[in-house]
């Protein structure tokens, strides 16, 4: 077992993380079955898959830090991060393969489709970097694929493992997808508008990097021609003072009431998620864990 292949895997999985997705697999399974143990291997598969995508995304985005620690390609090198990532993807499938035949044929299509969509989301994200304009719908599609479908699939897989029917599994999928999108939109808001002391990270990175966030997409939609021109002037500026650029773009966002529009969108996704949860055919008392989860996502400050 070559150490250079497996040490980065251990390093990555040892970093402190919220483990939202595997928790969702288990919570969702528990809605329908007392036997949650069967969902542990698939829950681990989802978490390892998620960390595989982070490892490869960090190479593509040339990120040197992840969870406040050096990324694998920064600590070792790109080749090692590439190959260890590949091994993690295979390890995820190895964990799934512990399921019985019937469960495996039920779970694999969900996992495969989701995994491909996550790749598509990352590709869209990279494609958008080279474009001047990204519509709100295009942005939301990217976010859905890159972030939300894996949250959704975690819930759906947990439900199916617990013995849920297709209808309930689908409702949980929709619940997770809508919350996942809301989560990412929150993320965009926080990167610009968070209270830095609470947030624990520097704000304004997305603005400095011209990242196509929901804020920028909204601003470009709402701006009149003159504002559009000024905004694009800032985006095209090659050299600038960091704080000056952040202030200038933030002023646009404030003038155009971008935060309000984005908060409305977040609330709308939240409402949709709640509707899916209401329709779910399980006892109301069992839904409280998922309600708490939604609440946590909606009110996070970091």
């Amino acid at each position: 077992m070559p150490a250079n292949l497996y040490e980065p895997v251990r390093y990555t999985l040892d970093l402190e993380a919220k483990r939202i997705r595997p928790a969702l697999v288990l919570m969702s399974c528990e809605l329908f079955s007392d036997d949650v143990k069967q969902a542990i291997a698939p829950a681990l598969a989802i978490e390892i898959f998620h960390n595989f995508t982070l490892m490869h995304d960090d190479i593509m985005d040339q990120s040197s830090l992840r969870r406040n620690q050096p990324t694998v390609h920064a600590k070792w090198n790109v080749n090692i991060a590439l190959l260890s990532g590949d091994a993690m993807l295979i390890k995820a499938y190895e964990l799934l393969s512990q399921l019985s035949g019937n469960r495996l044929t039920q779970i694999m299509p969900v996992f495969n489709l989701t995994a491909l969509q996550v790749c598509e989301g990352q590709q869209l994200d990279m494609d958008y970097e080279n474009r001047d304009h990204v519509s709100i719908d295009e942005y939301l599609k990217m976010v859905e694929y890159k972030t939300a479908v894996l949250v959704a699939a975690s819930l759906k897989m947990g439900a199916l493992l617990g013995g849920a029917g297709e209808k309930d599994a689908g409702l949980l999928y929709d619940f997770g997808r809508d919350l996942g999108i809301a989560f990412q939109l929150q993320d965009d808001l926080l990167d610009t508008f968070a209270d830095q002391a609470v947030f624990g990270k520097v704000t304004g990175n997305d603005i400095v990097a011209n990242k196509k966030t929901i804020l920028l997409c909204e601003a470009l939609r709402l701006a009149n021609p003159k504002q559009q021109e000024k905004l694009k002037g800032w985006l095209n500026r090659k050299s600038f003072d960091r704080d000056e650029k952040i202030k200038a773009i933030k002023d646009f966002y404030v003038d155009l009431q971008v935060e309000k529009y984005v908060r409305e969108r977040i609330e709308s996704y939240h409402q949709n998620a709640m509707k899916s949860l209401q329709q779910l055919g399980v006892d109301e008392s069992k839904k409280s864990a998922l309600l708490d989860f939604a609440d946590y996502l909606m009110h996070r400050k970091k």
Copy 2:
């Protein structure tokens, strides 16, 4: 569907290739069953997996040509080759997932273990680049993992799909592994000793790149201390005339009878493969296709 994700996949799979591995899946299945159709999806999965490894290996090895055409990272860019490769690995699993539950639980462990070993083989290959000395056993382990186990698993998976028992499936695995190693050793020989007109490629690339081939490992094993010193002198030389270096190292190989020793090893693997085939519990007449395949591998000149 982002074009940048899927066009490189199409491009790669459209290149002319021998398709040895999927052919072996089908041939092996046919030994035990008249229903070869069931093996088509897994055969495609193996071929797509193989091409995924080539796409990522080419990034790691910074190869600009593959099958006489630009590699994906050269034609597009590294990020696209990385992500399209990931998508191909997932697509391979998607194809496997078409199997019935019983077959899937039987095939997945074989595929997963093999896929991980292929990654380990590539990691060993990269590790060896940074080492002065690689023993014959270490080299053979790397070749087994990087090349031979996928040939072996192709045959084993085909056999299991055809309904073979574990014993016959294991014999076919061993047959494929031994031929796969023999194949790679042949490859090493051809890169240095092939008739360039028949080979169709320039010879001597391995020598120029100081690649740890079986030839170099054997030479370092057979050389006396003085020859060792001279040989390492050539390996450590930073600037040299290409043809001069090739001739010098080739002269070492000739003096040390390296070619003879390597041919003996190849013949020994060939014999072992033949023994596995003899023990196989199917009618002798059915074995001819695999015998032809072994014959083709053993006598190829390019």
